[in-house]
Assembly symmetry: D2
Homo-oligomer: 305 residues x 4
Amino acid sequence: MRERLTEIIDKCRPLYTQGKVARYIPDLAKADPKILGASVSNLEGDIFSAGDRDFRFSMQSVSKLLSLALALELLGEETVFSHVGMNPIADSFNSIVRLEIDYPHIPHNPLINAGAIVIVSILPYESAKECFEAILNLSREMTGNYNLKINEKTFLSEKATGDRNRSLAFFMKSVGTLKGNIEDILDVYFRECSIEATTEDLAIMGATIASGGINPKTKKHVLSDKTCKILRSLMATCGMYNASGEFAVRVGVPAKSGVSGVILATVPHRGGIAVVGPPLDSKGNSVTGIRVLEDIVNEFNLRIL
Amino acid sequence: MRERLTEIIDKCRPLYTQGKVARYIPDLAKADPKILGASVSNLEGDIFSAGDRDFRFSMQSVSKLLSLALALELLGEETVFSHVGMNPIADSFNSIVRLEIDYPHIPHNPLINAGAIVIVSILPYESAKECFEAILNLSREMTGNYNLKINEKTFLSEKATGDRNRSLAFFMKSVGTLKGNIEDILDVYFRECSIEATTEDLAIMGATIASGGINPKTKKHVLSDKTCKILRSLMATCGMYNASGEFAVRVGVPAKSGVSGVILATVPHRGGIAVVGPPLDSKGNSVTGIRVLEDIVNEFNLRIL
Amino acid sequence: MRERLTEIIDKCRPLYTQGKVARYIPDLAKADPKILGASVSNLEGDIFSAGDRDFRFSMQSVSKLLSLALALELLGEETVFSHVGMNPIADSFNSIVRLEIDYPHIPHNPLINAGAIVIVSILPYESAKECFEAILNLSREMTGNYNLKINEKTFLSEKATGDRNRSLAFFMKSVGTLKGNIEDILDVYFRECSIEATTEDLAIMGATIASGGINPKTKKHVLSDKTCKILRSLMATCGMYNASGEFAVRVGVPAKSGVSGVILATVPHRGGIAVVGPPLDSKGNSVTGIRVLEDIVNEFNLRIL
Amino acid sequence: MRERLTEIIDKCRPLYTQGKVARYIPDLAKADPKILGASVSNLEGDIFSAGDRDFRFSMQSVSKLLSLALALELLGEETVFSHVGMNPIADSFNSIVRLEIDYPHIPHNPLINAGAIVIVSILPYESAKECFEAILNLSREMTGNYNLKINEKTFLSEKATGDRNRSLAFFMKSVGTLKGNIEDILDVYFRECSIEATTEDLAIMGATIASGGINPKTKKHVLSDKTCKILRSLMATCGMYNASGEFAVRVGVPAKSGVSGVILATVPHRGGIAVVGPPLDSKGNSVTGIRVLEDIVNEFNLRIL
């Protein structure tokens, strides 16, 4: 299996020229566009990796799954979805248009920026510090890597340039969708985006979601089956921003991407896959990553759609 | 199995008061809101039905799968998706806003009205008559029911009140997205919407899509595996209009709904399910139908997400 | 005065390269871009012209003033403005977005396409023929030129390519904003757009609006003072499409433009000005026309804002 | 004249029930809805007042004229209109939709919130303090009242609840439209909104704009003629938010309203009028104020459109 993965990586690496490394967060802009790595984990905890397996990247939007999972576990489905919707949109991940046009003025789903910010805001913690620690802890439980931590430089870079997220947050505050201290909420949001991981870490996280909440490495039951179903369903319909339909056609498994070039995919009852390749297409998804995923899914017959 | 289906139908039927029968097509408005029926077909051709199994309803938007399948078979994926997108939108199925705002001015996916109209327009036939006959023929091959035909009254009713669809078509013509004679194109579109079927017919159609194109009743190979993958992927992300994410969370299988109250679901490599219950929720999906599907999927462990 | 007008025309004519002749109606596309003419009429009926004073052009959107004036005279302000709004929009003259987004779904003002189509639809005539004759008659009364008639070729060209207007009309029919036979309504709309005139004709029309309804050439009282106030107010705020604010800053008099390159301006209690120059800017207004108007208004101290 | 004004005030005061006092700024919500006052100033400095002539209200959006005038005087028309547009929009004064949809992402005009915030941001001062002092100074020069100052409670109230304005500002910062420190810019913006005045003060300000920049009370030349032309033109087309067309039809003079219930009108080369009546209509304009203005304009024959 490792050999086939390596062949796929080698075949797809030259495609990096078709995308552009994210530039809006200065710290991400420095990434080497040729980086490409992939890991696959089954539910027994076997992991296969190829390419830049040691490359550490920030989770970015993949971390939206962490805060959503935590909110679902702590508050329940009904409460969570009274604050955000569950449906995909055609707008980009940081768009504000529909928040203003549609009534009620709540984000359409928890996997776009506005939605993830709301999710962070409803987590029942006393302080931003406590809140982030709970998220970080969940990231460790889901990956089985108890050394995960944020990249401080990335965090500061996000914080310094997060004006669009501030705009979204203040808009939602002005219409009553968001309560609390904006900078505290965004602090947690930027921190979760800055948690660093490798593809091996995220393949295990994907397998944990695939299995109904049991981490294949630690064997611990870290999420309920119901929460995992919701995560998988929203990844399938909203996980790849406004390219979720196209990704379903091409690859056909639930996935969530991040602007660091990561894509975490989950194959229900089978396992998890994580890829990283910094150059992005126009919708913010890794061009080499999608291609690698497509090949892995086809090679190992993992497509569910 | 039939008994469990019957229990589900009996349990869900009283929920009909939570929706409203579609009124914008006069012919649909007459439907009895208490109607509720469901059929399940496996890949071996076994069919189980309960409730109003003999109720004949028009396929409405479920027929969008027919013209899309035909276009994919005849023209190929690349050509088809140069004319329409593949991604879900948050707007209602007959919205024109994003067609005007976004560039290029092509429909976001083939399962909303604008997209289905474009698909009909690119089908390579000499006349509207020939074109519709090919669609009707495919509906017969996919259901294994060679008696399928349109309900003339429904067709005339759609034609008489289809002004929103005319608006969409003329808009697309004005921006070059659509070519050809509008009334001819809409004639085919309204006709496919008016094809009448029962839940048994559509359960077989769903199983055909699930199996990779082999009709379980006739054993004929009527669609390519690739076309079926595309249908399933677009059903999963765009099939329930702007409630596709919510449906994925609740039910977790690819499906396509129609305003006659029908929902056709497909369980990859397992089978097809069709339900009909005329009262609709605010997004145009059958309220009793969704509930029945949820129960069937849970009861028989068919969820894929 | 004629000399100063001629100097202005000569000075502005070379600017024709900054715009583009309208291409979406084939018949307009043939216009010589160097054409430039202007006429000024005071309330005593003195007319001064320069440049291409004999050039006959179709009135296009300037004719929206005719149907609006007729509707106001026949139905009264209250009825008219229950069918259309009175406010400017930032969208282009043929946009459909706000018709769908805003509630009620009525056009924002009678000087954009959707609004003018609604105005034509509410005129209280038995037939399209009668309706258009009333509009044509009013055009003759307002210009004092009883030979005005439509250019048949332009009319047929508009009719053949008017798909965007059909889209607007069918949309409005689908939401109940517009009643009646769409092709009949559009027939009248396309005909009024095709009425041919010279700048002299329209300078008198402008003076008629300026005077409170008395045609300075025929001395006939052809419109009420109240109707003229409404026309002037809507011209000032909505007359130059989505460049109405910019035009107010630059020129400072109420005006209405048409895609044939015409601009009709009215100086309350002073007189009328008409210019024609086919090349248009990106918002559909004559580039040379605006410049000539600016110079005339400054030269003769006609600015009201 | 004073008698006629008093009659008009008495006649219109009972209409206060048709509107609602602004609630989104807590400090404004306390205003007595029955308050109604009006002042008229000619170019010779004669002032006539009636009703609540001593009522002091915050200028709110009327202050947008101050920062715009200052920017035009200091930076010139060309620079100012490279940062904001000049055209009316159909959206509400605090909408963000078009800022995101349209390219370039600049506010459509300087009299909506986003536009006024940009104008404040480009004023060439070293500090927020200096910047506001220049604006306050201009307010004193334009009203001839050297005691004008802000209401601190209103300012703090605006600052505490100005989240929508923060959202607009951060959005514009994220797309490069706005530069500088957001809280500093908004501090100046909220301060100018909080400058308190009476209708007499603002009638003189209106007369100053009407005269081409000469304050009729102090005889000082405080603005250029060109700046006054621009102010009058933008007031005529954009001054009453998205009801500017309707106001032009009903009243027919350039005006600017504020959510404290104030309307400042200017009659070119004739004089200024200011009215205040706290209850607002759905678009944010004073219901009693519009009615009083309409009566004053008709009574004294001041309409220009």
